[in-house]
């Protein structure tokens, strides 16, 4: 008998049908991967299994865990099930833990509510569980609070809470999406080891086909609330049948065609740049402290060249990007664009900054929701001062910019909320292009997009760079994307550039240990 058997599962919330005819099964000790883009229903499938659905949800069909039926079960039967038979791990390690409770107590609580055990005994067990997930009390005391831990450590606490009672089934909903790639590799290894050692069934939910392919025995691909394909994960990459799952695979391994571009003279030069942030003093009698976010960074970008900047969160890559475009003042060093300093007197800086624009990560936060697209796209024209076109000339340049990114003049009269995430990144590009810059800084510009949309935007970027002779500084934590689009790559760690070189050379034979670790940790197809 399988550990989990789901048959004909349907879920509606209000009047909206969320899940349709879901059928899944999982044996003890096996790993089931569920893949899909945002809105595919993968998370709600997981929440259905433990009966934690939003208000107004109606569930029908069958979900049997160890032969026990979940659909229609009483609330008390469900609370018995949750945490004891089924453990669940969530995506956001930053918010998934109670900030006011020690990590040891949060793990112990699972034991207390199910075993009617006293707190002192439960705390001892909790310490052992924390040790099992890689947080030995000699290093991380169970008396610590969540804010004192890193993201990866918090996710380990989340895992400890879920596995404290050795559940039969463990559900991990995007457990590593919010983590850096090296941390992701460690957490995935831990999950795999736990499932194997404790003979647990593991459901791993992810948007990342590569992560799932590397972990799962069987895989289910979801789209629009349905499972479109289900099978052995060894079918990836070659033998996926359904057109959607094939498209998903192709999009996640997509490489835009690289065109031979003409390399011109030097465009951007960054020399010995340092950026410090003052830290709050713990007490006024202590010396001033500072965090060095960017530490003596030197590099340059030629005209027409696409340079990647990779590193994990907090390495200083975004600070460096903002310093380059003049949004941050640097403590020392110099940044020159086409021979002119970026941080100059007001007017000279304006002239320099016309040649340089930026695209941000968040397709929702990048636009003032009260302005129409035409006004949003035209905003950088402010840099032209008196030379800025007005009237018909202004709307012509807006239309021109919109057309370059595959949108039309009619879109200028719409509000930003009428557009999808992918379209918004196109509009962000149009805004960046309106001053006809030579350099565009892309700060995690495709990271928030689903893979299929991401592939389209990458194609657009490659095409624009070729056609307009644009240079990019492409900042990302995603090695695959950087490899796809850049000619040269810089690897950044703790404020310093640790390795630089032609993209293919760096990826094929990394010299620095950190680069090697990054490349090894990045999930790829084909089981490691």
């Amino acid at each position: 008998m399988s550990l989990l058997r789901i048959e004909g599962l349907e879920l509606t919330i209000g009047d909206t049908r969320i899940l349709e005819d879901i059928a899944l099964s999982l044996d003890a000790g096996d790993v089931l991967g569920v893949v899909g883009e945002s809105g595919s229903g993968k998370s709600l499938t997981a929440l259905s299994i433990i009966g934690l659905l939003p208000e107004g949800a109606r569930l029908s069909g069958r979900i049997a865990i160890d032969g026990r039926e979940v659909v229609g079960a009483s609330e008390s039967a469900l609370t018995d099930l949750r945490g004891d038979t089924v453990g669940m791990i969530f995506q956001e390690p930053m918010t998934a833990l109670n900030p006011l409770m020690t990590i040891g107590d949060q793990v112990a609580e699972t034991i207390v509510v199910h075993r009617r055990a006293g707190w002192s005994g439960a705390r001892k067990t909790a310490a052992a569980v924390l040790e099992r997930v890689g947080l030995p009390s000699s290093q991380i005391s169970p008396d610590r609070y969540p804010h004192e831990l890193s993201g990866g450590q918090r996710q380990r606490v989340g895992i400890a809470m879920a596995v404290a009672l050795k559940p039969r089934l463990l559900i991990a909903d995007e457990p590593t999406t919010a983590l850096d790639v090296t941390t992701q590799a460690q957490i995935l290894a831990l999950l795999r080891a736990l499932a194997r050692d404790e003979e647990m069934g593991l459901i791993l939910i992810s948007h990342d086909l590569a992560v799932v392919a590397q972990m799962a025995d069987t895989i289910a691909v979801m789209q629009g609330g349905r499972i479109v394909e289900q099978g052995e994960s060894s079918a990836i990459p070659g033998r996926l049948k359904h057109p959607y799952s094939r498209a998903l695979f192709e999009a996640s391994t997509h490489l835009p065609p690289k065109r031979a571009r003409e390399r011109g003279e030097m465009l951007l030069s960054v020399s010995n740049v340092v950026r410090d942030y003052p830290l709050p003093r713990r007490a006024f009698w202590e010396a001033k402290r500072a965090l060095r976010a960017v530490d003596d960074v030197t590099f340059c970008i030629d005209r027409g060249e696409n340079v990647g900047l990779v590193g994990e969160s907090g390495c200083g890559k975004s600070t460096l990007a903002r310093a380059i475009v003049g949004l941050e003042t640097v403590q020392s060093g110099q940044i020159m664009l086409a021979g002119r300093p970026v941080a100059g007197l007001h007017n000279t800086a304006f002239i320099t900054r016309r040649d340089m624009q930026m695209v941000f990560q968040d397709p929702y936060g990048s636009f003032n929701p009260r302005h129409k697209v035409g006004r949003l796209v035209a905003e950088p024209l402010h840099l032209l001062g008196r030379d800025a076109p007005d009237g018909a000339a202004r709307s012509r340049s807006v239309t021109n910019a919109l057309e370059q990114v595959g949108l039309g003049s009619a879109d200028a009269d719409k509000f930003i909320h009428e557009f999808s995430g992918g379209q918004r990144q196109r509009i962000a590009l149009a805004r960046a292009l309106i001053t006809a810059p030579a350099l565009v800084v892309l700060d995690e510009a495709v990271s928030a997009l689903d893979v299929s949309i991401r592939a389209q935007i990458l194609d657009l970027l490659a095409e624009l760079s070729g056609r307009l002779g644009l240079s990019y500084l492409f900042i990302s934590h995603d090695l695959h994307v950087v490899r796809a689009i850049t000619d040269r790559v810089l690897v950044m760690r703790a404020g310093r550039i640790v390795e630089a070189g032609a993209t293919e050379t760096v990826f094929a034979s990394p010299r620095h240990a950190y680069t090697r670790a990054l490349i090894a940790a990045a999930p790829t197809f084909g089981r490691a």
């Binding site: 624009q357 936060g365 990048s366 636009f367 929701p369 009260r370 905003e379 840099l383």
Partner: protein
């Protein structure tokens, strides 16, 4: 996702479906209309003393009855509304006009000495409740309606400054503000063009609430003799005068109190309703 996803036409439709906005808006409007009408007409003159008609209970001739001088309470309430509304409205105006720019400026230069000075100044003003400010002013300059306006107005400044700063700070971290800086726009221009319009809803809601708090505070100050002085009628003074006769003629004390309750209730309902309306996240949650 974005709080402004609702266009103005949709907002009006939603407003007409919200009972809180409807009831609150109508109550508030009714009081304002009564106060405005009293400028040209009241059922009876309010300065006429008619000892014979004193303490008349509500009737067809005197809808709300008469007080110890035989004055018509309905007329007194109408004229008193004028004072209360004027005091509360000007006090809100003082708070908005001085507080919002301070808050915007503090947010625009977050962490700087200017920010520090503005915020410390706010903390200091917060240490003086409106009543204490009124006591200070009255002790030196004597009582009057202007005192009430100044006292409540000063109290409102840090309320709006803190609110504006807090709301603006979260906007300053948004990428669209960064895009505007990238376009070479200065902090003042960004504050006006990008920040202020996006915090306007929050400010409107708070203004409604401060308006109702102003009505309450004005009544309290007038009651203890720190606000409007006779012969200017005010709801607070009416209550103070009625207090000694409460056993004899309870309606004289009940009527002005009800006027205050209805006004404040209307404004609060309007404020809460607008908040729900402006924040789609809250829509449907409250009911």
């Amino acid at each position: 996702m974005s709080a402004v996803a609702v266009e103005s036409a949709g907002l009006w439709r939603a407003a007409l479906r919200s009972p809180a906005v409807l009831v609150g808006g109508m109550l508030s409007l009714a009081i304002v209309v009564l106060a405005a009408v009293s400028l040209v007409w009241t059922p009876y003159p309010i300065d006429g003393v008619a000892i014979g008609a004193r303490f008349a209970p509500p009737s067809w001739t005197h809808w709300l009855g008469t007080d110890h001088f035989g004055r018509d309470l309905a007329s007194m309430i109408m004229v008193g509304a004028r004072t209360s509304i004027a005091v509360a409205l000007v006090a809100v105006g003082v708070g908005v006009v001085l507080g919002v720019p301070l808050g915007l400026a503090a947010a625009a230069v977050r962490g700087s000495a200017i920010d520090e000075v503005i915020m410390r100044g706010n903390d200091l003003v917060f240490a003086f409740p409106a009543l204490v400010i009124a006591i200070l002013i009255t002790a030196v300059f004597g009582p009057g309606a202007v005192n009430a306006i100044i006292a409540i107005g000063i109290f409102n400044i840090p309320v709006f400054a803190r609110l504006a700063r807090g709301a603006a700070l979260s906007l300053w971290t948004r990428e669209f503000v960064m895009a505007a800086r990238l376009a070479g726009k200065g902090r003042a221009l960004i504050s006006v063009e990008h920040v202020l319009p996006n915090i306007a809803n929050t400010l409107i809601v708070q203004a409604t609430i401060q308006f109702s708090l102003g009505i309450l505070a004005d009544a309290g100050l007038a009651y203890v003799g720190l606000g409007a002085q006779p012969p200017i009628p005010s709801w607070g003074r009416m209550l103070a005068e009625a207090q000694t006769m409460i056993a004899l003629a309870p309606h004289v004390a009940i009527v002005p109190g009800l006027a205050i309750v209805l006004t404040v209730l209307g404004l609060n309902l309007l404020g809460d309703g607008l908040r729900d309306l402006f924040d789609p996240r809250l829509r449907g949650v409250r009911r």
